[in-house]
Amino acid sequence: MAVQSRRPRQALAIAGVLALALGATACSGESESGLDPDSPECAPYSSYQGHDGESVSIYASIRDKEADLLRESWSQFEDCTGIEIDYEGSGEFEAQLQVRVDGGNPPDIAFIPQPGLLARFAEAGKLKPMPADLKTIADANYPADWLRYATVGGQAYGTPLGANVKSFVWYSPKAFAEKGYQVPTTWGELIALSDKIAAAGQKPWCVGLESGEATGWPATDWIEDLVLRTQTPEFYDQWTTHGVPFNDPRVVNAVDEAGRILKNPKYVNGGYGDVKSLTTTAFQEGGLPILQGQCWLHRQANFYANYLPEGTKVGPDGDIYAFYLPTLDPSKGKPVLGGGEFTVAFTDTPAVQAVRRYLASGEYANARAKLGNWISPNNKLDVNNVTQEVDKLSMQVLLDKSAVFRFDGSDLMPAAVGAGTFWKGMVDWVNGKDTKSTLDFIEGSWPK
């Protein structure tokens, strides 16, 4: 019986591996740090104390390097208050959050980047409204433009956390200086500059729309930026909430204005080829030809800095930098398109409330900004604490008195449109479909 005599040894081996594995995980527990809650370093946290030993779970889509920075940003808070923050980031955040909430296992706090998703949870009664003291902090620290995206049915549910600014055009300050080009401050100047570069035999713009299953999203940002620039912010609000049809003639007009650049064979696609190459160029690589002098202008958010090769000098006198995408009629104010996450809570224990108060505070915004690669619409955030040049510029744009902030429209629209037909429609449009029938197609897909 060869089998029988061998089995105990196999079982032993398996048991051994299992014991080793369990032992290894048991040892990987974190060690407690020993900061005295009454020490001077902990003085700023005194108002959050009194929940020693409690833990708060946070779930978000932020992961990897940025997640490390998040953890670091609240580590002192944890040490001083004794509240343990269990952070978990996932690329499947949007779908997983729904499953966890349905399964009765929601995180205490979530950072939701889509106001549409936030509203859905709020309407389902899953989110806890902001307590009065948090509401006071929120009103004092954040612009009303931002807070209203986390307000559903008159009830405030969340505070903004991080932000990004999308109304930027990347360019090379060095190359501009060599050729004597000026940074345009009006839409007319922008087009004139593009013509000038095109006349010199180069393609001024480079664009990348490819992004896996989200291919086309950079083009939707173009359209949103131009709706904001050709129409009023109020019209933009109506458009994103379907108060006016998606294919309204005024939207057609805005899309045609974007088409003057995106579908102009003289303007695109610097470094990559003709108009057809837009949808096959990865958005991460869309602006890289600027560094090789094959392209001059690239419209993309402030976070594009993360895709630049290591060692690239970003700044007003560097290899690459950005300027605010000019508006058509400066008298109407400066429209700013952007995005960000909102801190919302599914439970409201005192410890969770303490964490929320802290995350909404100016102290947190400054602590996080000092670690780099982060901005926030928090008006207590000192620009000097923002580390990167382009992020400083973003803060200036956000805090500008004449700035009118509007959230990325595709995050406000129903997912079927904002993360579906809008992207797809833009790909077809860039590949030659006419504006009217593209917008008719998207309008037809709006959930009734």
Partner: protein, 322 residues
């Protein structure tokens, strides 16, 4: 008796010398040199992407991001930096696959052993113990196979986090598991999802064992536990191994169940969860995926290669009757 004796070969009729059946003719043609060459070609073609991934995993980050893996033949530059980074990187963001590797093992091994043990017992009972409603139980188990896993996720999650209550009466309290205890949830979930198929597969195998064998044992005075241990278990080793490979690969590669029941915390999350996040929030660190993928392939490859001789045989034997 050795492991190579299986009921399938023992009971199979002797193969006729000349190919008379259609199946035998197909078999003969598949043995021709042309078919061999074709299959080698297909195998090579199928392996090329994996090979490319392997080459990529050994190239420096800049090369991976700027040129295709085939350019390596003109300009060979290799480094183990990618492996170093994903396996042992110091910062929390750089992989640390080594610790997630352990989590994967802790999840996978019990998730294979539990269903294997339960299903072997159930298969024996369903095949050789006469009790009322036996066929209905078997049909029920069989039918459960068609329930998609995705449908059970939310109910199972609420079973753990909220317990079970019927009309306000709590039948089962919430489990309230945290940190490492969440392994229990994952084992439970994988065991549940594996059982119907495991019972079905093993039942087909066990019920094929010759009846004389069981009767002889019973005449000799063996009880059911004795028969199960001394006769059935040694005979169904190929089927057990086949199912073990199946289940091992399934659990090891699973992302969905792990995401929901283990979560992304570094105490419980398996390799697949970490791999899914390895590219960074904005997908800019995708060079790590090359080496990460290879780290995660190693164990399934070892398991498959070391158990594969049981694999085909076990599946074929189980399928004869079904």
């Amino acid at each position: 008796m050795t492991t190579t004796t299986s009921p399938a070969t023992a009971t199979a009729p002797a193969r006729p010398a000349t190919p008379s059946t259609p199946a035998a003719r197909v078999r003969k043609r598949l043995n021709s040199p042309a078919a061999t060459i074709a299959s080698i070609l297909i195998a090579v073609l199928w392996t090329v992407p994996t090979f490319g991934l392997f080459i990529s995993s050994l190239r420096p980050e800049d090369d991976i991001k700027t040129t295709g893996w085939w350019t390596v033949f003109g300009n060979p530059r290799f480094t183990l930096e990618n492996y170093q980074e994903v396996l042992f990187g110091r910062s929390a963001s750089s992989g640390q696959l080594a610790s997630y590797f352990v989590n994967s093992l802790v999840i996978t091994i019990p998730s294979v052993l539990f269903p294997l043990a339960f299903a072997a017992l159930a298969a024996y009972a369903l095949a050789w113990i006469n009790f009322r409603g036996r066929d209905w139980v078997y049909i029920g188990v069989f039918a459960l196979q068609i329930v998609p896993l995705q449908m059970a996720l939310v109910p199972l999650l609420s079973f753990f986090s909220e317990g079970v209550s019927l009309g306000g009466v709590t039948l089962l309290p919430a489990w309230n598991l945290s940190d490492e205890e969440k392994f229990i949830q994952v084992w439970f979930a994988h065991t549940c999802f594996a059982l119907p198929f495991a019972v079905f597969l093993l039942h087909n195998f066990v019920s094929q064992l010759p009846k004389d064998l069981m009767e002889a044992a019973r005449v000799d005075g063996a009880s059911h536990p004795k028969i199960f241990r001394s006769i059935v278990l040694p005979l169904i080793v190929p089927a057990l191994a086949a199912f073990a490979i199946f289940q091992f690969l399934w659990v090891w590669n699973d992302l969905l169940v792990a995401l929901i029941f283990a979560g992304g915390g570094n105490e419980v999350a398996p390799l697949t969860v970490r791999l899914a996040e390895l590219a960074g929030t904005r997908g800019s660190e995708w060079q790590r995926l090359t080496s990460g993928a290879f780290v995660s392939i190693v164990v399934p490859l070892i398991v498959f290669l070391s158990l594969q001789r049981y694999f085909v045989r076990g599946l074929l034997a189980g399928g004869v009757k079904g």
